[in-house]
Symmetry: D2
Subunit: 332 residues, 4 copies
């Protein structure tokens, strides 16, 4: 049974990844690390996860023989940790953006200097529904961002069919997406009874979405993407308004999605618009499509749990694939 | 001082209209009526409003000498009540959709048979920022829907400038927008920790938005409009993504809005994206614009309180205009 | 493997019971029934539970050979269904109050006429931590109410030690405790941003708490119990203020609870006050005790998930015991 | 017209006090100060308040001629600011605990060293419903804490009648009560869908409650007081369970409260349990009493808005009294 660590387990996604591995029957969680909370028990920080391990300070030498790691560090800080773990032979799923982008200039423009340039571009973009075989063969997987996960699953069938002429992606996320850090934005009194657009025109998930849409065949289209902060803890919805390059009726639209996602264990096609409650605490992306005759647009709505399919459970899904396990192990 | 009644004061918007008139220094609230709760005190139904009046069953003969009425009945049921009040000479602001549309066929298609066909089309569309003079001269004002209010204020400057080539309007509303009726949708456990699109492709506010955009000069554009239900009580945000007919940079975009809304007492142009908390319990529409060089689109975000500017306080604003009062009376 | 049905699976607790049995490895869920939603799929009503069964109208003859049933009917309506199932030999866990009380007069006073008087008093009160052996031997288990579950687990160690001279129990519950029915109380706009006491002096869980405290040896004490409705979906906290019959310091108090709950798989003794988030979606009761030198009182706080330990998962825990399975089966 | 400043206007209560004075017709708000946000506009920090003033760093010399000040500094830091303002002759309402307590030893035990010992004990405890004349004659008013405000209004009639033999006060507050500072506790994801007791056995409002109950004639009773954090922004409810020194039936209990609060503009006696929504954004305390025959206890529930009657609007009420204005000025 592969042994694994979670590096950076004191944040929301790292802690959840640890909890998922802790109850995974075919992966053995042997350690959890934290920069800010070393010495504390994880079940003291997160009673709800019930992981009875003490957080260590990260030291790669402690982990010479581990088989796998999920790294949940902030962008920039992740790369050096990933590099150390890779040098020791561990297969790594990295939750940061450090290995998602293909173009060094794009990375530099959005994130600054890279922390392990020798590995830049080595990661497989870990959206299993789109790159299952590549993930299975990879030693380093870049786990997608939460917004790109939902957006790409929502748009992939249209993208592959060459039907996207223009797209607006209006995204809504719960506050856990902003991370564990206490700020004015994440203060209860700021977020409660509120909804606010943020990152207007400059959200870091934009280049990632564009890169992967291009990989799906989309050319010359820059989707208008705006995230909004909602007063809920977990959950994310993307509402996609696609101008199609040719008329697409409901039957054809529905057929594209059924074909694309038949047999996918973690994609649900719904007969009515999804709510994020429908996918809370699951690895599932729930999608509803509507061909709108009044506007001629194809509408696609996709709901995920940002902490799960948008981060931690998708990391476990990727790890399962990388170790030849049932993709669903530990996630049912 | 004009005397006024609120007919249909047991719903959320009618009750708020009554509360606003109750503390209005220049209009005298003399009666409140209700079909479902006649005999109950309004401050028993809504302790927070502190309106110490008993709800009566509506009988037009009781109100022979009143000067004004705000009618807060459901669509279809409103028209006959409005007609009876108009026959007796009262100036009326109607919160329903019954007098908003200009085309009888459109009304019939979306709402069915009209309850007072002799008055159809007689109402002035009561968005004061766009039709102040018409409202001031009117005896019957059709108060706009909440989504049209926010959407039209968000799009009017671009519409008048002939710049709208295509538009996506992604709208988000608190649960009070669904009204006082207890349903599966409005149950706390359904709405809490959730966000759901609804009325996809068939929301009744669509024809109203299109009609008024056309009145502003927009031709041949059907905006893609989708509302979403959010876990908050009051508040509404519209996120508008406009494909412009020619490139519009930030300076020009900002200038259009400053020019359009200079001196407007109830429109605020913000330097950052608005949250609905910023306008809670006010008659204010708060707008933020962004010219997005990456997509070439003009982004406009507008926040209102759906119960206030989206309904009850806008009705009072209209009533003020109709009686020659300061537009802000009772609303500061 | 025992076969089971859930009768009354369209309410919150019945639906959750069905979901828990559906993924239970050692009990086979064969049918779900509903009075109000027969013919609908359960995963259409509750997408989040993913139980792909159609709800049937209940007919005892359909279930001649089932081994077990969880009945989730309202008080009064439950008893006849339970009786029919018992006649056919099924072991039953009943979620209603119909078999909780021992005294017919008390039942009549609080609930009215009983629906199956021949079975009155036959049920074992199914709080496994207090009556494990009785439950294991029972054919009919009366699943405790949510407030009694938390209150009795909070007070049992003090009760058994004969230390309760007086008690105040201030209880707080999420809105799911009010059930699926859409009412003014459960409307989002009523419950959101609110907290309200209800059932003051007359909540139906009172006689149940008193009966079971008496069974634990408490004499002549009527706890003051008041529930409050909170703006959250799932979760319940009871804050107990106990006047002790003799001084009890922190060591003794802590010792009583450690002794009482050592080895209990579903009781956690916490070192700080519990939040209901800590136990969300679990069968766990989390307890914190504090001996307060300023007032001389013993304070005990207990948190559960009202839908889980307060209803559906406790029913499964009981069913496990009744069939000789590991108490934790299907609940980890 | 008296001129006034708000010192410490960047926190929740100071900002609200500024907003209330800004729209007050008989007090002239001339400046707002802040330690952390000097140089920022108050309407940038709090768009909803629409106070178009720039926050200054506090310098007493700038305010030589002002008539009044509301000081909203943290405990300890408030006293020196109050002293400087008093030296210059301004009448001061202080929102901190620095001038609430009468006993220096008690202050030291709960708060540490006092920042202006020469003024210790000089403040009138500013609960107008209990000390209206003293407040009117005062130059320095110590505005009560939020919990003491609700608790004392709930218990005063019983206290004065000598009927309190024992009392449990279970208090519930929205997150704004924890202040503007972003912490793990105030993070949306911590507070949302949660309820937690805090300060168990050691909350700083305890000595204040005990001191004032004693002033009302209560002897030898230490109420058991526990606050709880609720997932809402504004609002506070105290649930009081009073063991009476002699039997008190409903008529007598109700009569005590009617007599005590007849004519009080900001106390409402309700016929059903209050919710905090009923008093949101008001200076009102809404009270419900119940004589419980089953337990022999008197139950009293009181709801306030913690930011309003629990802090800022009560400060304005006090200021009105101190300047001989209508107590309700600026608060209707």
């Amino acid at each position: 049974m592969p042994s694994a660590i979670v590096a950076g387990a004191s944040g929301y996604t790292g802690a959840l990844a640890a909890a998922l591995l802790q109850r995974h029957d075919e992966i053995d969680l042997v350690a959890v690390t934290s920069r800010s909370d070393a010495g504390r028990r994880l079940d003291d920080l997160y009673p709800q996860h019930r992981v009875p391990l003490v957080l260590d300070a990260f030291d790669a030498e402690d982990h010479d023989r581990i088989d796998a790691a999920i790294v949940a560090y902030p962008h920039g800080a992740a790369a050096p940790v990933v590099a150390q773990l890779r040098e020791r032979g561990a297969k790594v799923v990295d939750l940061s953006a450090d290995f998602r982008l293909r173009d060094p200039g794009t990375y530099a423009a959005w994130y600054g200097e890279h922390g392990a340039p020798q590995l830049f571009g080595e990661g497989v973009y870990g959206l299993p529904e789109l790159r299952r075989e590549e993930v299975a063969a990879a030693d380093l997987v870049a786990n997608p961002g939460c917004y790109p996960t939902a957006t790409l699953l929502a748009l992939a069938p249209l993208a592959r069919a060459g039907l996207i002429a223009d797209a607006v992606v209006d995204a809504k996320s719960g506050v856990s997406g902003a991370g564990r850090q206490a700020t004015e934005t994440t203060h209860f009194v700021s977020a409660d009874e509120n909804v606010t657009p943020y990152g207007v025109g400059r959200h870091r998930h934009m280049p990632e979405i564009e890169q992967e849409l291009e990989a799906l065949g989309v050319r010359g289209v820059v989707p208008a993407f705006t995230p909004h902060l909602l007063p809920l803890d977990q959950g994310e919805l993307v509402s996609c308004y696609v101008t199609t390059s040719e008329p697409v009726d409901g039957d054809r639209l529905g057929g594209l999605y059924e074909q694309a996602y038949a047999g996918e264990p973690f994609v649900e096609l719904a007969r009515r618009p999804p709510g994020v409650r429908d996918v809370r605490d699951t690895n599932i992306c729930r999608i509803f499509t509507h061909a709108d005759p009044r506007t001629g647009k194809a509408l696609v709505f996709a709901a995920i749990d940002n902490l799960w399919k948008g981060a931690a459970s998708q990391a476990v899904q990727n790890l399962n694939l990388m170790f030849g396990l049932d993709e669903r192990a530990g996630l049912r």
